[in-house]
Symmetry: C2
Subunit: 160 residues, 2 copies
DNA sequence: TTTGTTGCAAAACGTTTGCAGCCTC
DNA sequence: GAGGCTGCAAACGTTTTGCAACAAA
């Protein structure tokens, strides 16, 4: 039974409930930002989200986008990935749960892999004094392109 | 057979080899920074490392610390953890391999847990066109303190 | 001697803040 | 109507950069 991780109605309903329960206000900005996030269907960053909203003729300040993303992270609806010093990406939690990230230390390339067995392991973990919501796993190493390039570099240096 | 993850000699030797193989120079700064990292035995950040070096009467600029850390990450000797927007911590890879991180979304508290079963499983994963070096796993959720606090907040609002 | 590395200070960048005005409740 | 939320611009803090001086190979 695979449910759609980008289901706008379901996610919006959850968010509305969260806002109500926490005594926070339901604003047009919050609603619209979340809807756009659902439509992106994948990783996004603040600039990209801002651009899309503007293109859709919806003006919001970046400050509000930052505020809303923070709120969504507290509500465990959005996950933040910091792939390197300068690369930050966000993602809907419901979408993030299905995959792990494989990152090349050399070129920074990121790819996604699925592994349901690990997901199950983690889900079943009992952690003292802690209620888990989700997890992120990042596997670092070297992609075959970089490995090949480095090998050639080394060879060139030795022959010099 | 548990080997010491902070073994200065072993780590320094590996680093020297790495420098040589990549045509980079062995400088006093690089050597000293790595030695201090080994002595810290745990998470560290740039400020903390800089402070320790100064206290030890070894003057290095922060720029050089950043450079060296970047180099050590490329050499897969050091791992970077970004626990939240403003909290960055580094750690020796050899030390990081033994544990996972559990992070409270609410207060940002970080604790470490071990799980050898998951570690072994990930290590044995075969990923196409990729050579894995290490992985990081972050489990997010809510610690019991925050859960309790939120519960009381909610109750207070309802009773108001 | 060559050229990679360092220190310093200035710049860059993403993110946060303060405050007046607006809009939800 | 009260006060939470927004937009704007200025402030912030970490990381990066450019360049002259230095030192490893």
């Amino acid at each position: 039974m695979n449910t759609n991780p980008y289901d706008i109605d379901k996610i919006s309903n959850f968010f509305n409930e969260y806002l109500m329960e926490h005594g926070l206000r339901k604003t047009t900005e919050r609603k619209t930002i979340l809807e756009h996030i659902c439509r992106i269907q994948g990783h996004f960053d603040v600039d990209m989200l801002h651009e899309r909203l503007e293109n859709d003729n919806f003006h919001v300040s970046k400050a509000s986008i930052y505020n809303t993303i923070e709120l969504l992270m507290n509500a465990c609806l959005v996950v933040r990935h910091q792939f390197s010093t300068k690369v930050v990406r966000y993602e809907l939690k419901s979408a993030a749960m299905g995959h792990h990230h494989v990152i090349c230390c050399c070129c920074g390339a990121v790819k996604e892999i699925r592994n349901d067995k690990i997901a199950q392991f983690v889900k079943d973990l009992k952690i003292a004094k802690f209620t888990q919501e989700y997890y992120s796993m990042y596997i670092y190493g070297m992609c075959s392109k970089c490995k090949y390039r480095l090998m050639n570099d080394r060879k060139a240096r030795t022959e010099k």
